[in-house]
Every structure is written in structure tokens, then in C-alpha cells.
């Protein structure tokens, strides 16, 4: 059965394929267009992020009413989880746009852009304060774990 918002997803997919976002590239996706993997280069923050990072975006059946599930991926020898006060060491991201601030008018593209700018504006090479505890009990994807937004200024 196809997704109720198939046309919308298809449109987003076509635009993502064109790779119009600088530094962001669609690496792979599944046939149902529910899982996308991206490689992202942080353009303006070379001190902290020299290597590109990898992201996975999962669309649920409720997309775009509900936000997609997004996390950073680790691949030994290729990609690392970027150091950031809102990024847990298992790749989970604490970002308002992936939770309460999401509206159906946002898109995969807007998430990628906001993640890129989140990394670009970062100056702290550290993990969230509750990283060790969170990672131990975290579910597979972050949205179910009920984030407390630590510090909106970062």
C-alpha cells in the first residue's frame, strides 16, 4: 500500500536527488521512499568537523503530520558521530524541529539545513550533560524518549 502522502514524498525525493543543498548529498534510499541516508559536510566549521558525517532519515506513516525520525550514523573507519552538546554519542539528536516545532510545512530539506547550521554554529566539543545515562536506556530512535531541551542557545 502506498503512503497517503506519496505525492508529497515523491516531490521531496526528486528535489533531494538534484542535490541543490551545498554539502549535503543523498547517498541511498529504499524503494518505498521511507528511509534516506545522507552524507553531510559541515562547510564553515573545519576546526570541529573535518570529516563528513552520515545521517539517516526515516519517514513514518504519519509523515508529514508527524516529524521524521532522524539520527547520525556511525560506520567504523568511515563516519563518526559529530561532537555537539545536542548530539548524543549514539547519534540521537535533541532538536526542537524534530519534536514540538515540527509542522507539516517543514520538510526533510529543512531538517537537513537546520542540522547543518546547528553544527556550523557550534563551538563546544562536548556531549550532552546526561549522555552516559541517556545512551544506556535510549530507544532505537529518539522521538520516543521525551527530550528535555537543555539549552536552546546552542
Amino acid at each position: 500500500m502506498s503512503h497517503p502522502f506519496y505525492k508529497r514524498i515523491l516531490k521531496e525525493y526528486r528535489s533531494l536527488q538534484k542535490a541543490t543543498l551545498p554539502g549535503i548529498e543523498l547517498v541511498s534510499n529504499n524503494e518505498e521512499l521511507s528511509e534516506f541516508e545522507f552524507e553531510m559536510v559541515v562547510l564553515n566549521n573545519h576546526q570541529l568537523y573535518k570529516e563528513p558525517v552520515k545521517l539517516i532519515v526515516k519517514l513514518t506513516d504519519e509523515y508529514p503530520v508527524a516529524p521524521p525520525k532522524v539520527k547520525f550514523l556511525q560506520e567504523v573507519g568511515a563516519y563518526d558521530i559529530p561532537m555537539h552538546p545536542h548530539v548524543y554519542s549514539n547519534g540521537h539528536i535533541c532538536l526542537n524541529l524534530l519534536g514540538n516545532d515540527w509542522t507539516p510545512a517543514c520538510s526533510i530539506e529543512s531538517i537537513l539545513l537546520s542540522l547543518q547550521s546547528m553544527l556550523e554554529s557550534n563551538t563546544k566539543q562536548e556531549r550532552p550533560p546526561d549522555d552516559a545515562r541517556y545512551v544506556r536506556y535510549a530507544p532505537a530512535y529518539a522521538s520516543a524518549s521525551g527530550f528535555v531541551y537543555h539549552d536552546d542557545s546552542v
Binding site: 502522502f5 508529497r8 516531490k11 508529514p64 508527524a66 514540538n100 509542522t103 507539516p104 510545512a105
Partner: protein, 458 residues
Amino acid sequence: MDFDEVLMMLHHCKWQQEELMDRFYDNREKLLADCGINKSNDTVCGFNHVSSFSCSICCEDYSAVETFSLSCGHEFCINCYGSYVRTEVTLGNLIRCMIPSCNLSIPHMVTHGEYSHNVLLKAATISHISGRKVNYKWCPAPDCDGLVHLLKARKTGQSRLEDVNEFEELVDSESADLQSIPIVLCPRDHEFCYACQYENHLPCTCLLVKRWIKKCNDDSETVNWIDANTRACPSCTASIEKNGGCNHMTCSTCKHQFCWICLGEWSLHGTNYFRCNSFSSDMKEQIGEQKKVKRESLQRYLHYYKRFALHESSMKGDIKTLDKVHQKMSIFMEEQSKTNPNILSWIDVQFLQDAFRALTSGRKTLKWAYCFGFYLQKGNYADVFEQIQEYLSRSVEDLSKIFEQIIHKDNRGKSTAIIMNQKLDIMNLSSLITKRRKTLMECASSGLADGLLKLEML
């Protein structure tokens, strides 16, 4: 300002009137912007039927579709807007336009034509209440959706309860200050205790209620009875009650034969069990004494519990009777108003409502007075309390009897006549009940305060 805008501002200020006033007079423009109210734009907010529309959410191209937009002009198809609103409404906040950079809010009126069934208002109310659990309590009566809002909490005298959380402490407090028990009335006339959310349990304190209910629910009393009245078979440990006959026992379960007095094997006794008697007379007396104490305390509990339970079940009976009386009265009044409207009005039968209320609350007080009595230490003043309780009980029973007569099947067709004939009696009894209830409460409250009555926490 129209009604919708005021609603949105109140909603934004979390229904705090003072905060709204402050912010409104402080910086009106900023408040309006924060609330997402647009006064300048000419585009009308609302539903439109449009032909050839492409929705940017679902990316469908419609030849004809209903759309919605706020006065910002961000227009989406009704399906997309609908599913967005349905998700957002659960949060209980104002719902903004779907475009993240656009701050406009959806007016409450849009979510439903009528305010009484407004989903957004409903969700906002629920989230408001659940965020302030100490200030709101749902009525605990079954089938009642009454809500009580605590405006100001007072202790007796001057000291105010600054923090309503103190009610939670009150539930466990040993203090016997009956004046401080917060009995409240829900919009549907159910009285309950704000602290422990149980029905009006005066003259008992919340702690007594808690213990009493635990005691009644526990099997501990059954265990006490078994302990006091039975002995375990020395071979298979089945409980045996000796209901007469000689002391030569044969266990019905395992057929073991033993002596009831020393629990030794019967075969050792031979024909002469008096030897057993002289052998362990000390022991026997000791055990006997223990059992006597247990039996007495059990008897005492059962005395109070029976009466407590009796009034509880009577209350249920009363409520049924009262319903029937009420029905009869309604039918009667309807007929009356058709034939000769000037003779009786509803005000003339108002006394019935008062009597219903007096009866049920009288029963409730009586019920809890038995729980109170159980924990009460014996003494002269306790006797006075029980005497007052006795008086109350008498007038409650009298009133209950009158109502029972009214609906008795022998009196079919005469019920309204009985009501009107007994009007004076009913009125007298209900005011007597109210008075005696009050006296009972005062007796309990002042007795505890002056140390004349003492509670025993068993």
C-alpha cells in the same frame, strides 16, 4: 477586540487574567503579536471553496477543493489542515499557522461552530487542569463529572495554607482537628473531602478513614476470628471449630484423634482425660486469656462494622426510594400544572429536596460516626457522643420510614396525599437531622480539641 481575540489572549496567558491585563497595558502590540492575532492584514481568515488548487503539504493538484487559511493567506487543503489541527490540539496550546516563520494562531471558533463543543477549548481546559492538580479535583462520586476548583485554602483561625500541598500531609496527619478537614461540594451537590477525595467522612479524620477502610478490606479480621475460635489439627493443621460435645476430637480431614484441651494424641489419654486437665492448667488458662482478649476485640470491631455497613446499604436503599418519590412528585406536579396551576408550585415542594439531602447526609454522618466510635477510647464523654449518635440515628430512621411509606405498594395512588399530609413531619425531621448532625460534629470536634475524647490508633 472581539470575543475570539480575548479568548486567544487568555489562552496565550494561560488563563491568568491579571497577567493578561499587565501585558495588555504594558505593550499591547507585542502581546497581540505573541498571541498570533493579526489586526492589519486584509485577507480574511476562513474556509474557501476553490477550483484548481495545489496544496503544498500533500502536493496534490485539486480541480475543486475546500481550503483553509488564516489572515496570513497561507492556504492549505482542508485534509492537511485537519490532520495538523488534530495532532496539535492534544498539546493544549494555541495552534499556529503551519508555516514555521508565520506566527498567526487559529481562532477557537474555527475548531467548532459552537464554543460548548469546541475541541481546542476542551483540550486547553484539560491541559490547564492537569497542570494544576493541587488546585482542581474531580468529584469522586461515580458518574459525576463535577470539578472543584480550590480558590483559597484556609486552616482554622488565622493561618492560611500557603501551599495547598499541605492537604497531602493532612491525609496522613495524626492531628485530630476536625475543623481543618476540607469538605467541599461539587456542582452536582456531592460532598467530598478535598484532601483524601473520599466522601464526606466527618466526624472521622482522613487518617481514620484510611485505616478503617484498610481494616475492612483486610482479611485480618477473618484471621482474628479463626484464631480466636478454632484450633489447628495437630496432624494436618486444618482449622477446627469445636461446636459442642466432648473433648475427644476427630479431625474430619485426616481422621487424627486428639484431645481439644492439650492437643495431644487421644490414644495416650486412655479413658481418663482429667489427667490432661490437671497437667496443663496453667498453659490452658494463659491460652484461654489470650483468646478471650482477641474475641472481645473482634466482637467490638464487628459491632461497629455491622452498623457502618448497615448504614451504607441503607443509604443505597434510601437513594432508590428517594428516586421513586421524586418521580412520583414530578408526575404529580405535571398533572397539577395542567389542571389547576395555581394550587401547588415547585416552591411548595422544595422541602422534599431538603429532606432528601438531610436524609442522605444524615446517613453518611451516622456511618462514619461508627468508624469514629470504633477508634474512640471508652469514657464518659464517649458515652455522650454515642448518645447523640443514637438521637441522630432515630430521626434518620423516622424520616426514612416516612419515605418508605410513601412508595409502599399498599399506598398506591395516595403517595402525594401522604406527602402533603406529612409535610410538617418531614420538615421537622429534616431540620432535626440537620441540627443533630451539627451537634454530633461539634461534640466530636470540641471533644477532640479539649482532650475529652481520645482516639486509639489500633
